[in-house]
Subunit: 356 residues, 4 copies
C-alpha cells in the first residue's frame, strides 16, 4: 500500500535508508526446502556494488547480506525470510550542508512536500542503496526459477550516444567487461565515453536490455496485471528509470499490422511464432518465446559541476559539488533490472499454480 | 491478485467479455456524497466508441452505462458502485470460424496456454471492450479530482510515420478533429495516412501523449509504487500498448546530467523548476510541475489481409480476414489513457490523505 | 480495502443494497474448466430465502442468480465471474418514515456517522440481502472443494434458551426441519419457542455450529492468517454475529492443559489425534481432523414492539413497528455460515498450491 | 498473503523464529513526524516479558527493540519502520530431543504437513516469541491513537474456574497485580489458582477482556471488514486463542430483541445509546460507545506431566517434560491483545481519512 512491498505471492517488503542502521527486507513466497545458495546471492550483490572498476565509483561498500529468519540448515522454511545489509559508513556529518538544500532532479523537495520530514543524509529512503534489497530478493527468485529453467539475462545496450545496433546471439561476454555490454567493441567505446563524461564532471544515461529465456507459455494475468505491465512497473520503480518498452516498443508505433504481426507455425507438435516482434508476450501472457524488454535510465542527478538551486526557505544557492560519484550507473543497474524481472517471473509462476 | 482489480484505495474490479452478457465493474473509494454527473460519464464513454468518424470503424455500439448500486439520489454513497454496459450484438455464430484458430499476435494462443479453456467469441476477455469499464471508472476519478483542480489531457502525437514535433501550448483543439491531434495540420496528415492504411487493408500504430495539469506536489509513493511506475503499469495494461516513457523518456538515455537536471528557483514564495525534463515526478513523487508521459501503441493485430497461422491442433491455415475493423485505434485510446491516469491520480491522492 | 472484498486467491467482491437495482458480485479464483452446476447454486440460494416455512417471514423473494461473465458453455473460464440477483420489490416509498430515524441496534446511525449520506431504504448496504452474494460465491467454492472431498455442514445448535447438548454423529436430518437442527426433538422445541417469540412481537438469537469434514492437513497460514482467524473474520462479518469459537472455544478458558491437549497416535501409517479439543486446527493450520466451530447470533434488531429512539436531528421518537419480519433468522443463516466457510477453505487450498 | 502481514494502511509485516537471529518486523503507515517514545515502547515490551513475577516463568528475556530504519532524530519519517529484537539464548541443542517429535496440541505436526520442513527449535515460527513484533507495532499504534484520544485497556477477567462477575468501573488497578485483574480480591484467588496449577505440573486457560475508550463513531468498514470482524481476526491470530466475542457475545444467542436492543437518546446535542449491549459497534461500525470484547485462551500445550504422542515416523513415544514453563500465559497476553486492538483501530482510523 505504502509502496514498500513488491509482488503478490513472491513478495519483497523492503526497508532502509542510506544512512540508518542498514537496508533490508522480508521475502515471502519462497518455496519451503529451497537451498539458499549464499555464494550466488552474495555474487549478485557484488555485481551491484560500486567500485568494481575504474568506470564506477571507487568506494568499496562490500555489502554483505545477513539472513535474520526463515532459513534452517541452509534451506528456506517457507516462513518469512528477513535479511539486512548493514550500513558501514555512517559519517552523517558529511551531509550537513545538504540538510536544507533541494538538489536539482533529486527527491529532496518532493519528499519534503509529501512527508514534511526527511532524513536528508545521502538521499535517505530515495537512495539507490535501497536497491540492494531488490538484488537479494531477485537472487532468491532466480534460484526458484531454476525449477522451470527460466533464465534472465540483462546487459547494457546504450550509454549516452553509444548504442548496440542489434542484440547479439551470444550473450556470454556480458560480465567480461565492466560496462556489461556483450559486444566488446561497443563496450570499449562506452568505456571511453564514460571516461570522458567523468573528466567533464558530468554524468550520462543509458539503456539496459533484458532477455528472459525459457519462460513457459501462460505466465502473466490478463487485464491489469499483464506480464509486461508488471515488468513495466517493476522497472519504472528502479531509481532513474524514465522509460520501458518490450518487443518492438516505441518502434511499433510507426509500423503496420502486416509488418508487426507474428505468424504462428507448428514445429514437432509445438506451436511457435515465426518472428518475435511481440517480445514474448501476447495479451499480457507469455507465449513461450523469449521475453525482451528495454529500460531507459536518465543520467544520475549528482554531478561534480556547480548547479543553481534553492534551499527549504526558497533562498537561491549555488551547489558546490564534491566527493566521488559514478558518472554512469547503468552497468550497475543490470543486476537490479534482472532482480526485478526475476521477482515478476517468480510471482507470475506462483500465481499460475493456483489455476491448476 | 488475478489481474482484474486496479488501484489500492480508488479501485476498479472489472468483469466481462466481448460476447457475454456485458462488461462492467465495481468501483470502490468514491467519495461519499460525490455528485455523479451521468452526462459527463456517458460523454467519456462516447469518446471511446467506434464509429465516430470515417477513420474509425462504422459500427455504432452506443454503449450506455447502467449503475447497479452505490448511488442514491444521484450521489455516491461510499458503498461499492457497480455498473454494467450490456452487450448488444451477440451473434456469436459469426465467430465459429475462429473457434480453434490462433490469430497472429492476438491472445488466443496464450489464453489457451494459460487456462486450457477460452471464450473465443470476439477475443473474449482480451477484447478491447474490456476498456469500457476503465473509461467509466476513469470518468468518476476525473469527477473526484475536480476537488484538487487536477486535469488530465490526452492527445495523439503520432500515427505511423506522422508525428508532432513538439507539444503545443494550446491543447484546446484536440476534440475538434477525429484523430485527436491538437495540431490541426498534423491531424490532417494523420487522417490521410490512416485512410491509406485502410485502403491497404492494413492497420497502423501510434503514440498517445498525456499531460496532467495542476497535480499538487507530494503525490506518489516511494520505492515500488512511484507515481510514474503506477502510471506505467496502468498504461501498459491497456490493450496494444508496447511502451511507456515520462519526462524525457528514452531520450534521457543519451543525455548528460548537466543537460537533464531541472534546477529549482523560487517565485513568490513557491518553489518551482526552471525546466521540466523530469516530467513532473522526482523520486517517484509529483513535484507540482506538469506530469507528462507518452504511450506507444502497436498496430492492431486484426487486418484485412490474408495471414498464415495455425489452429489448436497445430494445423497450418490461411486466415481469410473479413468484416470491418479500425485501421488505427490510437485516437479512440485517448480517453482510455486519460481514464487510467485519472484512476492513478485519484488513488495517489486518497493514499496521501492517510499521511496527514 | 474498503471492506467489499473477501479472500486472497478465491475472492468475492460484492455490491448492492436492499433497494437498488440488485445485489451481486465478482468472483475470482475459480478454477478454469469448473462445471458450474446452476441447480446446486440456485438450491443454496433457496436455502437462504425467507418464506421457507411458518417460522420464517412469508415474503417470497425467489432470488435468481444471473451470471454476467466468466462462464462459457456452462464452465468457468478463469476470468471474473460476475453475477447479479435483481431486486424485485422496489417500493421505496414504504421506507419514507425511516428516512431520518435511527433504529435501535441497526446501522442507521453508524452509517451516517461514517459516510454522512445513506440509502435508508431497507437498511441499504447493511441489509442482510447483501449475504445473497456470499451464498453464490460459497456455492461455487463448495463445487471447487469437491476435488479434495472437503464438505461443510452447518446446523442450528441453539435458539434462545433451547440448545442441543452434544453434536450428534448423524447430521443427515438437518434439512428435514425448517429450523435446521439435526436433533429432531430439540428442533420441535425450537420451533415452538420461535412461535412464541413471534406471538410476543419479539425476536430471538441463536447459535449456528459448523463441521468441516475431510479437510486435508496443512491448510491455513501461520501468524495473522491462521485458518481459524480467517474463519473467525468470515463469520463475524455476517450480519448479527456476536461471537465465534472453535474447538473447545470459551470452555477452554476453564480447562487444564492435561484436559485439553490432544495426544497423537498412529493408525495404519497415518498420524491422528485421539481427541479433537483443538477443533481440527493447531497453530493456525488444519491437522486433518474435523474442523468444528460455533457462531453466536444476536436477536434481529427489528421487532414489532414499540421502541424509543431518536431521529437525525436528535428528536426523541417512538418507533411504531409494522410489516412482517423473521423472529429468528438463525436457521436461514446456516447456508451463509457454510458459504463463508467454503470460501475460506477454497482460498486456503489455493494458497497452499503455491508452496509445492 | 502468506499470513505475515496485518493491516491495510497501518501495517505490520513480521518475521522471526524463537531460535533464529531474532524476531521483528516492518511497520508501515506511521504518521510522518510522530515522536517515537522509546521508553513507552520498551515498557509495553516489558509487560509481555516472562519472569515478571512468581506466577510467570522466571526466565528473564529482557527483550530490547532496535529500530533499523524509518526513524530520524527520534521521529518517524513515514518510511518503513523496521525493527528487531535479537534472540539471546540460542542453545538449540536443548531442542534436539524434540527434533522429530509431534508434541500434543502444538503446531509441530501441522507445520510439517504444510511445509515439509520445519525449524523445530522452540516452536520455530509458531513460538509465542513472534508476538513480540506485535507488541512493538501495537505500542506505535497506541502513540498514533493519542491524537484522537482513543485508549485501549485490557485485563484478565477469568483464569481457569475463577472469574470476575462484572467489569468494574475503576480499571486503574490492573497493573498493580501480576495477574492483571482489576478486582484485587479476584486477583488473589487467580494467583492462588495458578500456583496450584503449577504445583500440579499443569497449565490453565483464561479470558482477556478489553475496553476501547473514546473511539469516535464511524470507524470500521461494512460487509467483510466490519470493525469487530477485524478485531476478531486480530485476536484469533494470537497464539492459544480459541474464541472471540463482543458486546453480549454468546449470551446474545439466548436473548430477545427487546432485551438486547440499545435504544438511542439525545444528550446535549449528541446522540448516545442508553445501554451498550452492542459493545460499541453496530453494523460493523463504531457508534461512539465503549468497544468491549472478550478473548478466550486455552491452557498452554506445554505441561510438565508425561504425555503420549508420536514422532515423525509415527512411532509412539512418551514425552518427558522438563524445563520451566508458564502455567498460565493469560496475564502476559494482555499487552498482546491491546497491541492487536490498537493496530486495528489505527488502521480503521487511517482508512476513514480517505472518505473525507
Amino acid at each position: 500500500m505504502a509502496g514498500n512491498t513488491f509482488g503478490r505471492l513472491f513478495k519483497l517488503t523492503s526497508f532502509g535508508e542510506s544512512h540508518g542502521r542498514g537496508v533490508g527486507g522480508i521475502i515471502e513466497g519462497v518455496k519451503p526446502g529451497l537451498e539458499l545458495d549464499m555464494d550466488f546471492i552474495q555474487k549478485e550483490l557484488d555485481r551491484r556494488r560500486p567500485g568494481q572498476s575504474k568506470i564506477t565509483t571507487p568506494r568499496d561498500e562490500k555489502d554483505r547480506v545477513e539472513f535474520l529468519s526463515g532459513v534452517f540448515e541452509g534451506k528456506a522454511t517457507g516462513t518469512p525470510l528477513a535479511f539486512a545489509i548493514w550500513n558501514k559508513d555512517q559519517k552523517s556529518g558529511d551531509y550537513d550542508n545538504l540538510k536544507d538544500l533541494y538538489r536539482p532532479s533529486h527527491a529532496d523537495y518532493t519528499y519534503d512536500a509529501k512527508y514534511g520530514i526527511r532524513d536528508h543524509r545521502g538521499g535517505g529512503r530515495s537512495s539507490a542503496r535501497e536497491t540492494i534489497a531488490r538484488v537479494v530478493a531477485g537472487a532468491i527468485a532466480k534460484l526458484m526459477l531454476k525449477e522451470i529453467g527460466a533464465e534472465i539475462v540483462g546487459f547494457v545496450s546504450q550509454v549516452g550516444e553509444i548504442q548496440m545496433e542489434t542484440i547479439p546471439e551470444d550473450l556470454s561476454l556480458i560480465e567480461s567487461t565492466p560496462v556489461r555490454c556483450p559486444d566488446l567493441k561497443v563496450a570499449e567505446k562506452m568505456i571511453d565515453y564514460i571516461d570522458n563524461v567523468r573528466k567533464d564532471k558530468d554524468s550520462v544515461g543509458g539503456v539496459v536490455s533484458c532477455v528472459i529465456k525459457n519462460a513457459p507459455a501462460g505466465l502473466g494475468d490478463p487485464v491489469f496485471e499483464k506480464l509486461h505491465a508488471s515488468l513495466g512497473q517493476a522497472m519504472l520503480s528502479i531509481n532513474a528509470v524514465k522509460g520501458f518498452e518490450y518487443g518492438m516498443g516505441f518502434q511499433a508505433a510507426s509500423m503496420k499490422g502486416s509488418q508487426h504481426n507474428d505468424e504462428f507455425f507448428s514445429e514437432n507438435g509445438a506451436i511457435k511464432a515465426k518472428t518475435n516482434r511481440s517480445g514474448g508476450v501476447q495479451g499480457g501472457i507469455s507465449n513461450g518465446e523469449e521475453i525482451i524488454f528495454r529500460v531507459a535510465f536518465k543520467p544520475v542527478a549528482t554531478i561534480l559541476k556547480d548547479q543553481h538551486t534553492v534551499d527549504k526557505s526558497g533562498k537561491e544557492v549555488v551547489m558546490k559539488a564534491k566527493g566521488r560519484h559514478d558518472p554512469c550507473v547503468v552497468p550497475r543497474a543490470v543486476p537490479i533490472v534482472e532482480a526485478m524481472a526475476a521477482m515478476v517471473m517468480a510471482d507470475a509462476w506462483l500465481m499460475n499454480k493456483t489455476y491448476h
